[in-house]
Amino acid sequence: MDQNRTSRRSFLTLAMATPLAAGALAACGGSSGPGQAAEGDATIWFLTGEPKEAIRRQTVELFNERSEVGDLAVTAFQNDAYKTKIRTSIGAGQAPTLIFSWGGGSVRDWAEAGQIEDLTSWIEENPEVKERLFDAAWTPGIVDEKVYAVPHETVQPVVLYYNKKLFDQVGAQPPATWDDLMALVPVFNAAGIAPISLAGQSRWTTMMWLEFLVERVGGQEAFLAINENQPNPWSNPDVIQALTMAQDLVKAGGFVDGFTSVVADQNADQALLYTDKAAMLLQGSWVYGSMKADGGDFVPGGNLGYQSFPVVTGGKGDPTSTVGNPAQYYSISADATEEQKEIARAYLADGALNDEIATAFIQEAGEVPVLKGIVDQLSESPDPEWMQFVYDVASNAAFFGQSWDQAISPTAAEELLNNIAQLFLLEIDPQTFANNMNAAQAAQ
């Protein structure tokens, strides 16, 4: 066993060094060296991307100023690069003290491998930690009734953004139903405007369309069957119908030309919307802040519209249901020293999301933090309507589905994303997709 451990670590260290060089270059925006910190300090890794990167840094700086137990040292990574990096680092025993995640399948993997701390007893001893955050946010951090990840940051439903200027130009209304949406496609195409912007190379963006279609057509049971890895969840006729509808939209020319080479990490999908090249965009609530920052007059000028995903007539889903990220999560590495864990727990208790940070998320990022009692603050934000909309979507949802790629195991998620890319390229039909995915999830 011991031997196994050494060989797998040295193998990983080697393996990490080479292929990740490419990812590291993309990820070097503002990182402060490798995960090693000064003696006694704990380490924390999180994601780049303004405006939230600045808030995350501010969070750590505030904590370090006040902390009596020790400091946190920061390293920041780009989203897609981080997902690979964190797993390799955990496997190689080089994990940071605080591990950022979206809960769900990856937390389950780490917990089952004994790589992250069971925080259940700590939370029972400190009930105030649990009580101050949204109740629904805790679920994705729980594995077999034990808490392995603590929520922080914001609730992020996926919403349908649209460009009001372009809708006025063609004299159309935003789609209330799927049929409306399909009817809009030829209207925009005839006007030389792409109906829908989509960052197809990133694949999880494409997945959002399927998530909503499955929920709207098949209801939350169909959706949960996938997240909970029930047998053959993809053979459900409703799911097949959802897959077929997605392909119909592709065939009708619903997505922007070249969507398969557009990348979300570079915000190209948002750029298509705010440069008036595309009329609609299905994306997480987190892109509001970056569209506001990058889009010039687009958001302040009132050109950005947003609404929930259209209803599918005759579908089993609830129109208020949504999908997305219930929160972000931090876990504590089991490899960390007792001193580092102490710092990490102090940070989770009231550093990661306190009143000041919650205000920063509301004021600067336009997102709704998962901290209770922030409703009053929403109206004082620079974007009160948007904030209220997100809050209502999140709190009134009959069902808040966690993103598939986060909920299921990383192995099945990779297979899912591959198959989704091929489905949207029309390279495979819905039945093949369902067979591939049933097999992939059964192997887990």
């Binding site: 193998f11 292929p19 070249g258 190209a268």
Partner: protein, 314 residues
């Protein structure tokens, strides 16, 4: 640019060190000693990981849990996966196309910059620039230039450049080949330049006296004399393109769909995205075997005397 063959540099210090030695025993001893550092590095960074990968290919491991023995499971899943023949096809297509694209261009540029005129030296420096850039940087820049909505075509209003370069399966493959070639043509030009400069001027003078023109000289002297340079350069291209990874990873991530998912990329995505270290290691072993076979084949093509000089009595 020195005309000395590379071999003499390596032999130099060893020969000098052993010359005063009186007994043959001491001589062998000192030579063995000199090999050790290189051998150490080779074992540490070549053999040990190779054995590690071979062992891992018979296990089941998700990257963080325990490594479990799984017999031939990984091999079975890799060999029955329709993704493997496709990845092999993509790999060989990239290999063949980039060889066919790079070789004539590098050969011509190499012959051109082998001339001694000063302006050619200036051009040689310019041609060399792409090689100085990191693959990831090259890929990011090309990705931005080729963007169908915000790239160089729409930006300059050039309709024919506003293609969906990386979004259509076959086109994306050709774009990958082009960008790979753009980056590595300078390197191979350099090899050919060195090769051309070693061809004795007397051969050209004799040919000129016999009335051969420039084109005839090129085909009857330059190309036959460059036979081994061509083999060296081709080996580097072929084996290099087998493990080619970073540029494709940044440019397309193997997409659209799996159109540019080469074997090396497939290995990485399986190992580090899907966390299937067993099957990824099996693919790595396949890569090693294919690479070895190709290198041996190319050596054979060169004949047994490929390491001896061509200059005299050829």
């Amino acid at each position: 640019m020195s005309n000395a063959p590379v071999g003499t540099v390596a032999v130099g210090p060893a020969a000098a060190g052993s010359a005063p030695a009186s007994s043959s025993g001491r001589r062998t001893g000192s030579l063995t000693w000199l090999v050790l550092p290189a051998l150490g590095f080779f074992i540490a960074f070549g053999i040990v990981p190779l054995v590690g990968v071979l062992v891992l290919s018979f296990t089941s491991w998700d990257g963080i849990g325990d490594v479990r023995y799984a017999g031939l499971d990984s091999w079975r899943s890799v060999l029955t996966d329709p993704g493997l023949p496709h990845a092999l096809l993509v790999t060989f297509l990239i290999m063949a196309l980039s060889w066919a694209f790079q070789t004539p261009i590098s050969l011509l540029i190499g012959v051109f910059i082998a001339g001694n005129q000063r302006y050619r030296a200036v051009l040689a420096v310019l041609y060399f620039i792409p090689l100085l850039l990191s693959s990831a940087a090259v890929a990011i820049v090309f990705k931005a230039l080729l963007d169908p909505n915000f790239g160089i075509g729409p930006g300059l209003g050039l309709g024919f450049l506003a293609q969906d370069w990386l979004g259509r399966p076959w086109l994306a493959l050709f774009v990958v080949v082009f960008v790979v070639s753009w980056q590595f043509v300078p390197f191979h030009s350099l090899i050919y330049q060195g090769g051309v400069r070693q061809i004795p001027a007397s051969m050209y003078e004799a040919a000129q006296l016999d009335g051969a023109g420039r084109v005839k000289q090129f085909f009857h002297i330059t190309i036959p004399q460059l036979k081994y340079t061509i083999i060296t350069s081709s080996t580097l291209m072929v084996v290099g393109s087998l493990t080619f990874f970073d540029l494709i990873f940044v440019l397309t991530q193997g997409g659209p769909g799996d159109a540019t998912r080469s074997l090396a990329l497939d290995m990485y995505l399986r190992g580090f995205r899907a966390n299937l270290m067993g099957p990824a290691s099996a693919i790595a072993v396949i890569l090693v075997l294919v690479g070895l076979a190709l290198a041996l084949l190319l050596q054979r093509l060169g004949g047994k005397d490929s390491n001896t000089s061509q200059l005299e009595g050829a």
